[in-house]
């Protein structure tokens, strides 16, 4: 299952540069991940507002996995890539991979604030926030885990 659409050109062909980071499933570890995203966004001379959008989308991807994935290795595996289209825009891409139980994003109910009022369930906004803040999002999930790939153009 996947959604969103990445440009057909491969990352290798685009000359992407990659940084890997593994974080434990633990409170506030998502902030460690955002520091890496911010550093790479600054390297790309991305605007502060765009970096903030990447940071929040990354926070949401991490806390979704922390709360719901039930990761077998108690870790999240992150990859940060810098790349660009030939003679085109540069981008920062973040991949969040967990080895958890997976989920069917088609069955995730779209939240609204009205449903939240006077309901015990006020959560479930993570995917909507990620899709709204990033330029491209691809979600692949199954029994072996979930991979969220998200890209922001400079």
């Amino acid at each position: 299952m996947s959604q969103g659409g990445f440009a057909p050109h491969g990352l290798a062909a685009s000359g992407a540069r990659e940084v890997s980071l593994t974080i434990p499933v633990a409170p506030e570890m998502e902030i460690v991940a955002t520091a890496q995203a911010a550093a790479l966004g600054e390297y790309l001379a991305m605007s502060r507002d765009k970096i903030d959008e990447v940071k929040l989308a990354l926070v949401e991807a991490c806390i979704n996995a922390f709360e719901h994935a039930d990761c077998s290795d108690e870790q999240l595996h992150l990859k940060f890539r810098l790349g660009g289209e030939p003679k085109g825009r540069e981008w920062l891409e973040v991949e969040v991979l967990d080895k958890g139980k997976g989920f069917d994003s088609a069955k995730v109910e779209e939240p609204t604030i009205e449903k939240s009022f006077h309901s015990h369930r006020k959560r479930g906004w993570g995917l909507q926030i990620i899709k709204s803040l990033m330029d491209e999002v691809e979600i692949t999930s199954g029994g072996g885990g979930t991979r969220i790939l998200m890209r922001k153009y400079k």
Binding site: I31, E53, L56, I63, I113, S116, K122, I129, S132
Partner: protein, 119 residues
Amino acid sequence: MSESCKVNSERRGDVAILWTDGYINNQGGEEIAREAYAQLDGGARALVLNLEKTRIVNSIGISILIEVLEKVMDRKGALAFCGLTPTIDKTFRIMGLAQYAEIYPTQEEALRGVNPQPA
């Protein structure tokens, strides 16, 4: 590494201003809720949340802000936000929070908004 959120508040008439400093996650949200409920129980009619020293509010923190909003609405009060970064502003609008709580650029405008002068 911790960016735990600090919350301070001050009463101006029947309006309470709450200032946050740091990451609003579940703990930060609960700090805000605790301070907000204390102010409402102490007689505040309206709350102004000044987030100018906060750069990230995650969805757990926002869900707690929705609870605060609910309580304010139940009491026929008003809730306003100010000092939001463009990303937090965008997120609040995505979630529909802006339909029920006004967002102002500055604290002064927020105070005027929740406390309009009679014509």
